[in-house]
Symmetry: C2
Subunit: 150 residues, 2 copies
Protein backbone atom coordinates (compact mmCIF):
# COMPACT_ATOMS: atom_id res chain seq x y z
CA UNK A 1 0.00 0.00 0.00
CA UNK A 2 1.16 3.49 -0.76
CA UNK A 3 0.97 6.52 1.54
CA UNK A 4 -1.25 8.51 -0.79
CA UNK A 5 -4.88 9.05 0.22
CA UNK A 6 -7.55 10.75 -1.86
CA UNK A 7 -10.04 13.24 -0.43
CA UNK A 8 -13.80 12.59 -0.42
CA UNK A 9 -16.00 14.37 -2.94
CA UNK A 10 -16.81 18.03 -2.31
CA UNK A 11 -19.54 20.18 -3.84
CA UNK A 12 -19.68 21.16 -7.50
CA UNK A 13 -17.75 24.40 -7.07
CA UNK A 14 -15.02 22.68 -5.10
CA UNK A 15 -14.74 19.88 -7.68
CA UNK A 16 -14.54 22.27 -10.62
CA UNK A 17 -12.45 25.07 -9.17
CA UNK A 18 -10.71 23.63 -6.11
CA UNK A 19 -7.13 22.54 -5.59
CA UNK A 20 -7.83 19.30 -3.74
CA UNK A 21 -7.84 16.12 -5.81
CA UNK A 22 -11.15 14.34 -5.16
CA UNK A 23 -11.31 11.60 -7.82
CA UNK A 24 -14.60 9.89 -8.55
CA UNK A 25 -14.33 6.13 -8.88
CA UNK A 26 -17.23 4.34 -10.54
CA UNK A 27 -19.39 1.53 -9.10
CA UNK A 28 -16.50 -0.88 -9.73
CA UNK A 29 -14.04 1.44 -7.98
CA UNK A 30 -12.39 2.51 -11.25
CA UNK A 31 -11.49 5.75 -13.04
CA UNK A 32 -10.73 5.97 -16.77
CA UNK A 33 -7.24 7.13 -17.74
CA UNK A 34 -6.46 8.39 -21.26
CA UNK A 35 -2.79 7.85 -22.00
CA UNK A 36 -1.09 10.17 -24.48
CA UNK A 37 2.42 10.53 -25.86
CA UNK A 38 3.96 13.46 -23.96
CA UNK A 39 5.86 14.57 -27.05
CA UNK A 40 3.30 14.51 -29.88
CA UNK A 41 -0.03 14.06 -28.06
CA UNK A 42 -1.06 10.82 -29.79
CA UNK A 43 -3.65 8.90 -27.76
CA UNK A 44 -1.94 5.59 -27.01
CA UNK A 45 -4.50 3.70 -24.90
CA UNK A 46 -7.31 3.99 -22.38
CA UNK A 47 -6.73 2.16 -19.09
CA UNK A 48 -8.54 1.93 -15.78
CA UNK A 49 -7.14 2.57 -12.32
CA UNK A 50 -8.54 1.86 -8.90
CA UNK A 51 -7.44 4.02 -5.96
CA UNK A 52 -4.39 1.88 -5.21
CA UNK A 53 -3.21 1.76 -8.85
CA UNK A 54 -3.63 5.54 -9.08
CA UNK A 55 -1.71 6.05 -5.83
CA UNK A 56 1.10 3.76 -7.04
CA UNK A 57 1.24 5.72 -10.31
CA UNK A 58 1.55 9.06 -8.51
CA UNK A 59 4.07 7.70 -6.02
CA UNK A 60 6.35 5.89 -8.46
CA UNK A 61 5.95 8.04 -11.58
CA UNK A 62 5.28 4.90 -13.61
CA UNK A 63 1.85 3.76 -14.81
CA UNK A 64 -0.10 1.17 -12.86
CA UNK A 65 -3.59 -0.02 -13.83
CA UNK A 66 -6.27 -2.37 -12.65
CA UNK A 67 -6.82 -5.02 -15.30
CA UNK A 68 -10.58 -5.52 -15.66
CA UNK A 69 -10.14 -8.73 -17.67
CA UNK A 70 -7.59 -10.32 -15.33
CA UNK A 71 -8.86 -8.63 -12.13
CA UNK A 72 -5.36 -7.80 -10.94
CA UNK A 73 -2.89 -4.93 -10.64
CA UNK A 74 -1.00 -4.41 -13.84
CA UNK A 75 2.25 -2.51 -14.08
CA UNK A 76 2.37 -1.51 -17.73
CA UNK A 77 5.57 -2.84 -19.27
CA UNK A 78 6.17 -5.50 -16.62
CA UNK A 79 6.36 -8.15 -19.34
CA UNK A 80 6.91 -6.10 -22.50
CA UNK A 81 9.33 -3.47 -21.20
CA UNK A 82 6.91 -0.81 -22.48
CA UNK A 83 7.01 1.04 -19.15
CA UNK A 84 5.18 4.38 -19.13
CA UNK A 85 7.06 7.20 -17.39
CA UNK A 86 4.55 9.80 -16.26
CA UNK A 87 5.33 13.31 -17.46
CA UNK A 88 2.05 14.95 -16.43
CA UNK A 89 -1.23 13.71 -14.94
CA UNK A 90 -4.39 15.78 -15.45
CA UNK A 91 -7.97 15.48 -14.25
CA UNK A 92 -11.14 16.98 -15.68
CA UNK A 93 -13.79 19.41 -14.46
CA UNK A 94 -15.78 16.87 -12.43
CA UNK A 95 -12.71 14.79 -11.57
CA UNK A 96 -14.00 11.50 -12.97
CA UNK A 97 -11.44 11.01 -15.74
CA UNK A 98 -7.66 11.32 -16.13
CA UNK A 99 -5.28 12.26 -18.93
CA UNK A 100 -1.76 10.95 -18.42
CA UNK A 101 1.08 12.19 -20.63
CA UNK A 102 3.84 9.60 -20.78
CA UNK A 103 7.10 8.57 -22.38
CA UNK A 104 7.21 4.90 -23.29
CA UNK A 105 10.32 2.80 -22.63
CA UNK A 106 11.41 -0.38 -24.40
CA UNK A 107 10.39 -0.61 -28.05
CA UNK A 108 8.20 2.49 -27.65
CA UNK A 109 4.94 0.74 -28.53
CA UNK A 110 1.90 0.54 -26.28
CA UNK A 111 -0.56 -1.91 -27.85
CA UNK A 112 -0.25 -5.65 -27.21
CA UNK A 113 -1.26 -6.28 -30.85
CA UNK A 114 2.01 -4.69 -31.95
CA UNK A 115 1.03 -1.16 -32.87
CA UNK A 116 2.33 2.05 -31.29
CA UNK A 117 -1.22 3.06 -30.29
CA UNK A 118 -4.20 0.84 -29.51
CA UNK A 119 -6.25 3.11 -31.79
CA UNK A 120 -5.05 1.76 -35.15
CA UNK A 121 -8.45 1.47 -36.87
CA UNK A 122 -11.08 4.01 -37.87
CA UNK A 123 -14.81 3.41 -38.00
CA UNK A 124 -16.44 3.76 -41.41
CA UNK A 125 -20.13 3.69 -42.28
CA UNK A 126 -20.89 0.72 -44.52
CA UNK A 127 -23.88 -0.42 -46.54
CA UNK A 128 -27.23 -1.41 -45.07
CA UNK A 129 -26.51 0.13 -41.68
CA UNK A 130 -23.34 -1.88 -41.03
CA UNK A 131 -20.31 -0.15 -39.50
CA UNK A 132 -16.86 -1.29 -40.59
CA UNK A 133 -13.26 -0.68 -39.63
CA UNK A 134 -10.23 0.21 -41.68
CA UNK A 135 -6.58 0.53 -40.72
CA UNK A 136 -5.31 4.06 -40.21
CA UNK A 137 -2.04 3.10 -41.84
CA UNK A 138 0.29 2.66 -38.88
CA UNK A 139 2.73 -0.22 -39.21
CA UNK A 140 3.19 -2.78 -36.46
CA UNK A 141 6.19 -1.74 -34.33
CA UNK A 142 6.90 -5.26 -33.13
CA UNK A 143 5.66 -8.82 -33.36
CA UNK A 144 3.73 -9.69 -30.17
CA UNK A 145 5.08 -13.25 -30.37
CA UNK A 146 8.57 -11.90 -29.70
CA UNK A 147 7.37 -10.27 -26.49
CA UNK A 148 4.57 -12.43 -25.16
CA UNK A 149 5.41 -15.76 -26.83
CA UNK A 150 2.62 -17.61 -28.60
CA UNK B 1 -33.76 5.72 -34.19
CA UNK B 2 -30.99 5.55 -36.73
CA UNK B 3 -30.43 2.84 -39.34
CA UNK B 4 -27.02 1.86 -38.01
CA UNK B 5 -26.69 -1.47 -36.22
CA UNK B 6 -23.57 -2.82 -34.53
CA UNK B 7 -22.35 -6.39 -34.86
CA UNK B 8 -22.12 -8.77 -31.91
CA UNK B 9 -18.73 -9.53 -30.39
CA UNK B 10 -16.44 -11.92 -32.24
CA UNK B 11 -13.40 -13.81 -31.00
CA UNK B 12 -10.15 -12.13 -29.95
CA UNK B 13 -8.52 -12.32 -33.38
CA UNK B 14 -11.59 -10.89 -35.07
CA UNK B 15 -11.82 -8.04 -32.53
CA UNK B 16 -8.16 -7.12 -32.87
CA UNK B 17 -7.58 -7.64 -36.57
CA UNK B 18 -11.02 -7.64 -38.18
CA UNK B 19 -12.78 -5.03 -40.24
CA UNK B 20 -16.21 -5.32 -38.62
CA UNK B 21 -17.02 -2.83 -35.87
CA UNK B 22 -18.09 -4.81 -32.80
CA UNK B 23 -18.15 -2.26 -29.98
CA UNK B 24 -18.25 -3.44 -26.38
CA UNK B 25 -20.71 -1.55 -24.21
CA UNK B 26 -20.28 -1.88 -20.45
CA UNK B 27 -22.85 -3.12 -17.90
CA UNK B 28 -24.64 0.24 -18.21
CA UNK B 29 -24.65 0.00 -22.02
CA UNK B 30 -21.96 2.66 -22.42
CA UNK B 31 -18.63 3.05 -24.20
CA UNK B 32 -16.03 5.70 -23.30
CA UNK B 33 -15.18 8.26 -25.99
CA UNK B 34 -12.01 10.36 -25.81
CA UNK B 35 -12.54 13.60 -27.72
CA UNK B 36 -9.51 15.30 -29.22
CA UNK B 37 -8.96 18.43 -31.30
CA UNK B 38 -8.49 17.23 -34.88
CA UNK B 39 -5.93 19.94 -35.56
CA UNK B 40 -3.56 19.84 -32.59
CA UNK B 41 -4.52 16.62 -30.77
CA UNK B 42 -5.41 18.22 -27.41
CA UNK B 43 -7.67 15.97 -25.34
CA UNK B 44 -10.83 18.05 -24.88
CA UNK B 45 -13.14 15.77 -22.88
CA UNK B 46 -14.17 12.20 -22.14
CA UNK B 47 -17.82 11.40 -22.84
CA UNK B 48 -19.94 8.26 -22.83
CA UNK B 49 -22.14 6.94 -25.62
CA UNK B 50 -24.74 4.22 -25.67
CA UNK B 51 -25.46 2.39 -28.94
CA UNK B 52 -28.03 4.94 -30.09
CA UNK B 53 -25.81 7.96 -29.30
CA UNK B 54 -22.93 6.29 -31.15
CA UNK B 55 -25.17 5.51 -34.14
CA UNK B 56 -26.45 9.10 -34.23
CA UNK B 57 -22.84 10.35 -34.12
CA UNK B 58 -21.80 8.15 -37.05
CA UNK B 59 -24.93 9.00 -39.05
CA UNK B 60 -24.93 12.77 -38.51
CA UNK B 61 -21.19 13.47 -38.21
CA UNK B 62 -21.89 15.47 -35.04
CA UNK B 63 -21.23 14.23 -31.50
CA UNK B 64 -24.03 12.75 -29.43
CA UNK B 65 -23.55 11.37 -25.92
CA UNK B 66 -25.53 9.74 -23.17
CA UNK B 67 -25.46 11.98 -20.12
CA UNK B 68 -24.89 9.76 -17.10
CA UNK B 69 -25.82 12.54 -14.67
CA UNK B 70 -29.01 13.58 -16.46
CA UNK B 71 -29.82 10.11 -17.90
CA UNK B 72 -30.70 11.52 -21.30
CA UNK B 73 -29.33 11.93 -24.84
CA UNK B 74 -27.10 14.92 -25.11
CA UNK B 75 -26.19 16.58 -28.39
CA UNK B 76 -23.00 18.42 -27.53
CA UNK B 77 -23.45 22.11 -28.30
CA UNK B 78 -27.24 22.03 -28.26
CA UNK B 79 -27.26 24.83 -25.69
CA UNK B 80 -23.75 26.25 -25.96
CA UNK B 81 -23.25 26.14 -29.73
CA UNK B 82 -20.05 24.12 -29.09
CA UNK B 83 -21.07 21.50 -31.65
CA UNK B 84 -18.42 18.85 -32.36
CA UNK B 85 -17.96 18.02 -36.05
CA UNK B 86 -16.48 14.55 -36.33
CA UNK B 87 -13.34 14.39 -38.45
CA UNK B 88 -12.30 10.83 -37.57
CA UNK B 89 -13.60 8.16 -35.19
CA UNK B 90 -11.22 5.42 -34.02
CA UNK B 91 -11.60 2.33 -31.88
CA UNK B 92 -9.00 0.36 -29.99
CA UNK B 93 -7.66 -3.19 -30.09
CA UNK B 94 -10.46 -4.76 -28.06
CA UNK B 95 -13.08 -2.30 -29.32
CA UNK B 96 -14.17 -1.06 -25.90
CA UNK B 97 -13.08 2.58 -26.22
CA UNK B 98 -13.27 5.32 -28.86
CA UNK B 99 -11.12 8.26 -29.87
CA UNK B 100 -13.02 10.96 -31.75
CA UNK B 101 -11.15 13.74 -33.52
CA UNK B 102 -13.36 16.81 -33.84
CA UNK B 103 -13.59 20.45 -34.81
CA UNK B 104 -15.55 22.52 -32.33
CA UNK B 105 -18.03 25.16 -33.53
CA UNK B 106 -19.24 28.24 -31.66
CA UNK B 107 -16.71 29.77 -29.30
CA UNK B 108 -14.41 26.77 -29.80
CA UNK B 109 -14.44 25.72 -26.15
CA UNK B 110 -15.57 22.34 -24.85
CA UNK B 111 -15.75 22.53 -21.05
CA UNK B 112 -18.87 23.88 -19.32
CA UNK B 113 -16.61 25.55 -16.74
CA UNK B 114 -15.33 27.88 -19.47
CA UNK B 115 -12.05 26.31 -20.51
CA UNK B 116 -11.13 25.01 -23.94
CA UNK B 117 -10.46 21.52 -22.52
CA UNK B 118 -12.01 19.86 -19.47
CA UNK B 119 -8.47 18.85 -18.45
CA UNK B 120 -7.32 22.21 -17.08
CA UNK B 121 -5.71 20.97 -13.84
CA UNK B 122 -2.76 18.72 -13.11
CA UNK B 123 -2.41 16.42 -10.13
CA UNK B 124 0.49 17.17 -7.79
CA UNK B 125 1.71 15.14 -4.84
CA UNK B 126 1.30 17.11 -1.61
CA UNK B 127 2.46 16.65 1.97
CA UNK B 128 1.37 13.81 4.23
CA UNK B 129 -0.01 11.72 1.39
CA UNK B 130 -2.45 14.37 0.14
CA UNK B 131 -2.85 14.90 -3.59
CA UNK B 132 -3.54 18.39 -4.84
CA UNK B 133 -4.43 20.11 -8.10
CA UNK B 134 -2.94 23.09 -9.86
CA UNK B 135 -4.05 24.95 -12.96
CA UNK B 136 -2.17 24.12 -16.14
CA UNK B 137 -2.30 27.76 -17.15
CA UNK B 138 -5.09 27.83 -19.72
CA UNK B 139 -7.33 30.89 -19.55
CA UNK B 140 -11.10 30.62 -19.54
CA UNK B 141 -12.39 31.03 -23.10
CA UNK B 142 -15.82 32.24 -22.02
CA UNK B 143 -17.94 32.92 -18.95
CA UNK B 144 -20.39 30.03 -18.44
CA UNK B 145 -22.99 32.52 -17.18
CA UNK B 146 -23.14 34.02 -20.66
CA UNK B 147 -24.01 30.63 -22.15
CA UNK B 148 -25.94 28.75 -19.50
CA UNK B 149 -27.27 31.67 -17.40
CA UNK B 150 -26.88 31.50 -13.63
Amino acid sequence: MTDIRFAGRGDKNELENGNVFQPKFDADGLIACVVTDADDGTVLMVGYMNAEALARTIETGEAWYWSRSRQEYWKKGGTSGQVQQVVELLTDCDQDALVMKVRVAGNGATCHVGYRSCFYRRIVAGENGAAGLEQTGGERVYDPKDVYGG
